[in-house]
Symmetry: C2
Subunit: 138 residues, 2 copies
């Protein structure tokens, strides 16, 4: 585990999941229903095998994801968000809403259908408060 | 500017501000009312001068912060959030609320008073919707 840098709650949180690759893995689980090492490896950002293994281990050690046996294979594992990991959904939702407000939207046309559907649910439910989204998105 | 990795809005956002140091600079501006290079350099996480210069430039290039002349000195600059940067406050608020729910709170006692006050405002106003927080926190 990395050493925490300060007593600040932001800094301590960022030491757990505050890097691009960790957040992309969390995105994969929430918005793309990915749940295996092989799934994460295939994401378009091209994570390397050593970074992926490192981030999965770190997220597991900090109780953000849990690793379970895969029902179809003894050599594969399933990764799911724990309640602590599900607690990150509001933040991920805000992250998307920021992108939706401030970044060019043209490229979103090319997103996988499953992600488009989940992002649509997220926008429709924004007014009702994103805290209720965890159930709908999981 | 870094090359974007994919068309995904999460990935594109993370390429702009999704690393620990950028987010700590944004924290400094929002919650600690810091606004100069020297202020950021003094934060307890100990950012290095080259990373700080790089992140300030990147955040400015992407329109998250703006660099202005300092009223007191010709050799210093003021950094402030643009509207696009202020748009990150809800996400930062959720990040704090996550930490407040899931991390040990003992260490928060040692935070600077200004940050404690702002975090308190943030928690009190959570029920009214974090989107309204931008004015109160800025």
């Amino acid at each position: 585990m990395r050493k925490k840098r300060s007593e600040c709650p932001f800094s301590r949180s960022l030491d757990i999941w505050g890097d691009k690759w960790s957040l992309l893995i969390i995105r994969d689980i929430i918005f793309l229903e990915k749940n295996t090492y092989g799934d994460f490896l295939k994401s378009p950002e091209g994570i390397s095998t050593n970074i992926l293994a490192n981030r999965l281990q770190q997220l597991e050690e900090h109780g953000i994801i849990e690793k379970m046996e895969h029902p179809d294979s003894k050599t594969k594992f399933l990764y799911k968000l724990t309640p602590k990991g599900i607690g990150l959904i509001p933040m991920m939702a805000d992250m998307y809403l920021w992108a939706d407000s401030y970044l060019d939207k043209d490229e979103q046309e090319q997103l996988p259908d499953i992600m488009k559907r989940k992002l649509e649910v997220l926008k429709e439910n924004r007014a009702q408060g994103i805290k209720n989204l965890a159930d709908k998105l999981s």
